[in-house]
């Protein structure tokens, strides 16, 4: 099952990448620049997936607190790591894009600050996890953190609306091909996220069985 998912993800990623560089070239509203504009096919799906990973973290947190089953703790930890991966990609892609566009690697615009806070939340989760040794307590406190972190996410983005923003408001898609490649890239990144979470959950489960953390 996992191999099938891996193959589908790989195939979709190849197709969406090919489309992004050929038929799906994006022209931003403000300026016409070279290949950097295609960052949107990486940047936006990463943003969406990191939020989705936070959603999984929320569900895992609530489920653990209700059921006390260790599997939800593993899913939570895995989704936090996946969220870290995608928020790193989000921030890095944004930096790569902003350099030629605004002549700066980073600017404290509201959306960029929001993205940075997302990244810090993921890191904070992992630091918290690393500093608690008791497995049951660690699972509980990480579940609580996951719930609070998810509550923070909409607040971060609403904060952004209270301020002026240098960030591009919307990308205009001119053709069906662009929309298709955009949709495909979101789908492939989402599948990649699911795969990462699945893999990491299995690793944590195997590690726990090996260490017999839970009798």
């Amino acid at each position: 099952m996992r191999r099938i998912l891996l193959l589908i993800t790989f195939a979709l990623s190849l197709v969406s990448t090919w489309m992004a560089f050929t038929v799906g070239q994006v022209v931003p509203v403000e300026k016409n620049i070279t290949f950097e504009k295609n960052i949107v096919y990486v940047h936006v799906p990463s943003a969406i997936c990191s939020i989705l990973c936070f959603l999984v973290l929320l569900v895992a947190g609530i489920s653990y607190l209700v059921t006390n089953k260790p599997i939800w703790d593993y899913i939570g930890a895995a989704s936090a790591e996946a969220a870290l991966v995608f928020s790193t990609v989000l921030n890095a892609a944004g930096s790569i894009f902003s350099r030629p566009f605004w002549n700066t690697w980073w600017t404290p615009s509201p959306r960029l600050i929001s993205s940075a806070i997302l990244w810090f939340l993921c890191v904070a989760y992992l630091i918290l996890r690393a500093n608690i040794q008791n497995p049951r307590y660690r699972a509980r406190i990480c579940a609580v953190f996951g719930i609070i972190a998810f509550l923070d996410v909409p607040i971060i983005f609403i904060t952004a609306r209270l301020m002026t923003d240098q960030h591009i408001a919307n990308v205009e898609f001119e053709s069906a091909c662009q929309r298709a490649s955009f949709g495909l890239s979101i789908l492939s990144v989402a599948l990649l996220a699911a795969l990462l979470i699945w893999l990491k959950t299995d690793i944590l489960k195997s590690k726990a069985i090996f260490e017999k953390e839970f009798t």
Binding site: N134, P135, R136, E211, K212, E213, F214, T215
Partner: protein, 250 residues
């Protein structure tokens, strides 16, 4: 004398004040408590012996509801401490090797605070009586942080008894106490039992433990290997080396 390995149940199991059923607890890879069953009826004082790290404090913390067991149920006066803490909690008084009192509050302030939280109606009268009973009345306006270890332990006892519990859980209450303080504590504990209280305590010093309890239990490798009335055991043999005594099944 019981035969090897025989665990004796208390005669009053139908109305057990402390009922520990099938309790297991593991920390990381180590199984500390393995399917412990223990019933203690009213007006009994039970002393739990065991080497360092065997799980005595863990069992007491589980009995107090401060730690969740991996398996099993603890009932205090018939109420499940996990599901009905609001009913089981007020029946419990806990003494630990830490005093569990606030160092920056005076003795009387500490007791008033806990009396308020437990909803003790005649708080002032009760506190004055307790301070007299434990011999702290002249120290009542001293901050807890300035009290000596012996006096602090007396304050801890007063704190544990302020709400008139029916069960007292004491985790190594004699630790670091001098002779005078030990004698005083033994007196307080025996008065508690005389007034229909039940005690489950742990101790290292077998002589002191045997003196204030009428039933002894030995915990070893996650199970109870001895459960006898004090009157039924060879006190000298037990006091010399309780672990060998218990393992031998005498």
């Amino acid at each position: 004398m019981s035969t090897m390995g025989e665990i004796r149940k208390d005669n009053g199991t139908a109305n057990a004040v402390i009922s520990i059923s099938g309790v297991s607890k593991a920390f990381s890879t180590r199984l500390v408590l393995n399917n412990i069953d223990l019933e203690i009826g009213g007006t009994h004082s039970v002393c739990l012996f065991g080497v360092n790290g065997v799980g005595k404090s863990t069992l007491l913390r589980i009995a107090a509801g401060l730690l969740q067991p991996d398996k099993g149920v603890v009932r205090i006066c018939g109420h499940d401490i996990g599901r009905e803490p609001e009913k089981a909690g007020p029946q419990l008084g806990v003494i630990s090797h830490k005093s569990m009192v606030y160092p920056n509050l005076t003795a009387i302030e500490n007791l008033s605070f806990f009396a308020n939280l437990y909803g003790v109606k005649d708080g002032t009268t009760r506190i004055d009586k307790l301070l007299n009973d434990v011999g702290l009345f002249s120290y009542r306006f001293d901050r807890a942080g300035t009290l000596s270890r012996g006096l602090l332990q007396r304050l801890a006892i007063a704190r544990a008894l302020v709400h008139r519990p029916s069960v007292l859980l004491a985790d190594e209450p004699f630790t670091s106490l001098d002779g005078e303080a030990c004698r005083h504590l033994i007196l307080v504990l025996s008065d508690f039992v005389k007034n229909n209280g039940t005690i489950l305590m742990t101790a290292h010093d077998t002589k002191v433990g045997l003196k204030c309890c009428d039933r002894v239990i030995v915990l070893d490798n996650g199970t109870l290997i001895l459960d006898e009335m004090t009157s039924d055991i060879d006190i000298d043999g037990f006091a010399q080396d309780y672990l060998s005594y218990a393992r031998a099944g005498n």
